[in-house]
Amino acid sequence: MTRAEYMIRLADKLHNLPEIRRREIVEEILAHFNDGGSEGISDEALAEGLGPPEILAKEYRAAYASEQASVKPSIGNVMRVVWAGIGMGMLNLIFVLPIVAALFAVWLSLVITGGAMALVGALTAILSIVSIIFPMALISIVYPIASVFVCLMVASLGGLLLIGSLRLGGAWGKFIARYVCTNIEIISGKRKQNAEEH
């Protein structure tokens, strides 16, 4: 392979690098041919030493890409990171949202059941007591004393359920918050995955 041929094939594979960068690379490799030639080494041997121009171009492109990603927070790079982040967010949304929604629904029904039991239990207990003190005043209850105990039991069960589910909700909320924070950290790049690999 002559040096002209080598240079053409190399430059062809560098076309998506910036103009300045490309010119630097071409000048450098051309200087390599010149300096090698002045020491009596043939173009053929020099080209063989450099390896195929396509591979050389690939390594130059890789070097450039890693530099771009690590050093310059240019609009293009930031956009790429943002897009990656949105992609990850969408994935989370698709996979996690149904689970979160279902768990939230279960939790909400527990809270409502507990609340309703506590409220109704307490109210009917009061009604029962009232009907013991003032028989036939409002409504008649067949076994007023038994009714007081049953209603108080239902009310306290409902109260426990309510308190328990609210506590559970707090823990669940913390977990969701931590999960979201982790995602934000990953997206914003604070938590790098395989930082050493390019």
């Binding site: 200087a31 010149n34 300096d35 450099l50 390896g51 050389l56």
Partner: protein, 127 residues
């Protein structure tokens, strides 16, 4: 002999796993060490540097040029133009202070690594 070669390969694999202690891209790290070592001694132009490296280490010259560009991007090397007796001015590479720091760090890693390998080969490793 074959057994020992396998040992070394295995050790290299482990070395690249333990990224906190040894440069993960070990081979590239070694090449980087060679380039920095040459430039720590004296400034070189491209062909001079590349042929020195590829003369001692079996490595394609095509691997060294992109590496030099990367090292310059990272601020470990500088370049300047200097008149030459033959032909146009040449681009010389010069190591920066940051490059010297990196060189010292890579050298320490290299010394520790080769020491470990030697210990295994010579059977000095405490079992």
């Amino acid at each position: 002999m074959r057994y020992k070669v396998l040992d070394i390969v295995w050790l290299l694999a482990i070395a690249s796993e333990r990224s906190d202690r040894v440069n993960p891209q070990f081979k590239k790290g070694v090449l980087e060490l060679c380039v920095l070592a040459l430039l720590a001694r004296k400034d070189c132009y491209g062909f001079e540097l590349v042929s020195s490296v590829s003369r001692s280490v079996v490595m394609s010259e095509g691997t060294v040029y992109p590496l030099m560009k990367r090292l310059r991007d990272e601020g470990l090397l500088n370049t300047y133009l200097k008149e030459s007796n033959e032909g146009p001015p040449r681009k010389y590479y010069k190591i920066t202070d940051g490059g010297r720091d990196k060189f010292a760090r890579l050298l320490a890693e290299w010394r520790a690594f080769t020491q470990g390998v030697d210990d295994i080969i010579e059977g000095r490793q405490s079992a």
